[in-house]
Symmetry: C2
């Protein structure tokens, strides 16, 4: 494979350029003609489909249903909850014309659907019998990005799911917030092999309009933290302006308790950054469109026939074992080219088979994550492949967990705090709880409170900034 | 069930009002705050998911892949193919602002994605090795509707899939057009139990920018024809302006051959119209979110316990048989209310169980389509349910087929033609092939050529309008 086709930047040297090259050259996504927008190519979309299917199944198993909302929201409706509207208004795309006709009440392209969903819910919910209402929407959100585009991480339209639930009881709503976040954690850790930290956002960082926001965070190899999913407790902040109320069992009209939550294709960005290497993408087997690729190796026509026959047979068997396997029988490329091509695309396992392997009734299994090769006999190949894929999945997670630990630092002095942030660390420090100290940190270091972990302990040390007694321990980093 | 909750219009008396009531009261969809837009509620979305899954599987089995395109298309790009642009421009929603900033090159909300997809394809395709490229997009299209909204049939945003393929050979592209239309027919006839007629559109009615359009049509009970899916041969009409070309095996740069095709949630509209009755929706089992509903019947507490126990056991067994079954154990409603509620929602099969049934080790199966009741013994209940669902599916199709036949008329005289169109018939008549005669028919009767069936024979009779020799036989009707 020529230099030009492969990844030409090193992850450790120019992370940003490396990331972009992996996205484009592994054919995950491409830039659309409009600045800030990307197209998701089939290979990238297929990863999204595996992630989507995993979340969708879990949602349905817990009584959630899917539905569809239009992308257009009238300005009058969007502005009904004032704080919420103010939070989104600089990023809103506005439709002002249909054909040649100017539209009176401008239409916003959905930045998020709370307002539209709840104006519908207020029509649909009459009594306690209609609750809980738990609806999820697989759609896209549109938020005009002013900064430079970063595929999956910063684009003006992104694929996501947004869930919106309504409950009769406050406690039930808060349980929903928690169990959704836990479902996200399970999905991200088990499917994407990325360890995360769960907790709350500070009031400054919470979702505009929420009582509080719970979040799932991780730190990327470049030292920037990534918010990987959020679950919001909305209380009655929306049910009051949107009139989402019900007759309770005592026939008393009551405002409902609400939640909203979402994950997006940003998780694909995390996947690339956490597991990728200088050769390109490294996909965890659970979300890999192709889990194993068979590369036949031959030089003579005679060898070609026997190798290809066996390769087809192997493909058949492995496929029956439930593995997504591809036989690369392209004649116009050398095995070496194919090795690099599939490595760049992150296929977890390569199965090499040549005349010598054939004579010994075995193949070579090559792992993408650690490049290790093993001989595996034909007769145990299906089990051997399954085991190797399981090993890769758990090794990727273990490795990412070690990195997360090594990038997490407990700090109690502000001078060291600044240094560790500069080093791209996820810094855990005592905090007094005041927004003023949060702002000081932001100004001095560029770091935000990413998450106040659920298991955070109050510290014996004082606030990292003002030295007054700390209320809790928060995790700080610069963010995406 | 009170009159107000049930359907209050008759299908035979006020079809339009009946249709709207079924959509709203069966909770398939609701009106959004913006005129012309609807929200798809979970029950309606679930039907869409079954349809989608059926099509998606067939597409993947034939080598198509899914991907994602943004909803925003720059005006400059949309206008690159002039006829195409002219066809859509009156219906386009225009984004002119992002936040407070005016946008230079206005952005169209996707009315269809040919232009955007092909501007990407021209970057991705280099050689014959990259072909065929067969990509499908599950998204929504936006076309501002000026006429009154009709849920599923006429809305300014609608869910659909659009497929866009690129081929090295003309013949291969034309085969794709045909095989996609055949896949649509199979899906609609087998899943939705709606018989269709396949053929070509006239040049006047074809997709703007296509060489020709093939279509799948049917006639609705109100005598209006419905276009249920189209598959277009684009030739090189787009590959030339969008520069979709490849190096062929002789290393010669060649413009590619293209197709595009789509079906939408309009098919849910067809489903409602074709199978529904005065009690509401009638769902074919293959796409019914709930295929069988169990209604327990009791008056005493003692009966309640034994009936509910048995009902749960039955639910468990039937569910294991692969049937989507729901036990309606709501205590606050009478069995009679529940009967009407689920009838309105079109659940194909009702399973009634009361103390008398219990003592005889049987249940009552009630079919939604023909309201017939049968006793079925516990021990054969799973098979009995499966058989009944299969019978309903095929009976619905047979019934719809009979209706389609009875509404199809062969006519050779224009006076009779006018009468039959007025009667809401699907009229098959000889046609000379001229657009002038098509226009005369449209002016005089409001009917269009809906489809020139693939099996149309040239007629011995002259053109229905101008009396010159006919070229073919076409099917005319007023349309949605």
């Amino acid at each position: 494979m020529s230099k030009e086709i492969g990844i030409t930047s090193k992850k450790s040297e120019d992370f940003s350029e490396w990331y972009t090259q992996v996205v484009i050259k592994a054919q995950l996504a491409d830039y659309a003609p409009v600045k800030g927008l990307i197209v998701l190519r089939p290979y990238g979309y297929s990863i999204w489909e595996f992630l989507k299917s995993s979340v969708d199944q879990k949602l349905k198993a817990t009584g959630h249903e899917n539905a569809f909302l239009p992308v257009l929201i009238p300005e009058s409706l969007l502005s009904r909850e004032a704080t919420h509207f103010a939070g989104f208004t600089p990023e809103v795309f506005w439709v002002t014309y249909s054909g040649d006709s100017e539209i009176g009440d401008r239409l916003a392209l959905r930045p998020t659907s709370e307002t539209l969903a709840y104006s519908m819910y207020s029509k649909w919910i009459k009594s306690w019998r209609d609750l809980p209402l738990k609806i999820n929407f697989w759609n896209s959100a549109l938020r005009a990005e002013i900064k430079a585009t970063k595929p999956f991480l910063r684009t003006s339209e992104f694929l996501w799911q947004e869930g919106h639930t309504v409950h009769a009881e406050k406690e039930e709503a808060e349980n929903e917030v928690t169990s959704i976040l836990e479902m996200y954690r399970k999905t991200v850790e088990e499917e994407l092999a990325i360890p995360v930290i769960l907790g709350k956002k500070s009031d400054k960082e919470k979702f505009v309009g929420a009582i509080y926001t719970t979040t799932m965070e991780s730190i990327m190899p470049d030292g920037k933290a990534l918010q990987m999913g959020t679950s919001h407790f909305l209380g009655q902040n929306f049910s009051k302006p949107f009139d989402v109320k019900f007759l309770d069992r005592q026939n008393v009209e009551t405002f409902a308790w609400q939640t909203s939550w979402g994950i997006s294709w940003r998780l694909i960005g995390a996947l690339i950054m956490v597991h990728g290497d200088d050769k390109g993408l490294v996909l965890p087997p659970r979300v890999a469109p192709i889990q194993a690729v068979i590369i036949p190796i031959y030089s003579s026509q005679e060898d070609k026939d026997s190798v290809l026959n066996k390769a087809s047979e192997i493909k058949e068997n492995i496929s029956k074992g439930g593995i997504r396997v591809h036989l690369d029988s392209r004649d116009e490329f050398t095995p070496g080219y194919k090795f690099h091509d599939w490595e760049m695309k992150g296929v977890p396992l390569r199965i090499e088979i040549g005349p010598k392997d054939l004579s010994k009734n075995k193949v070579v299994l090559a792992r993408r994550d650690n490049m290790k090769k093993t001989d595996v006999a034909f007769e145990v190949l299906v089990d051997g492949t399954i085991n190797a894929l399981n090993d890769i999945q758990s090794d990727l997670f273990a490795r990412a967990k070690t990195i997360l630990s090594s990038k997490t630092k407990d700090v109690t002095e502000f001078s060291q705090f600044k240094k560790e942030i500069e080093n791209g660390m996820f810094v855990r420090s005592p905090w007094c709880g005041s927004q003023k100290c949060e702002e000081t940190i932001k100004e001095d270091t560029g770091a935000d409170i990413r998450v106040i972990p659920f298991d955070a302990k109050s510290s014996e040390f004082p606030c990292i900034v003002c030295k007054s007694p700390s209320k809790t321990t928060a995790m700080f980093a610069r963010g995406y």
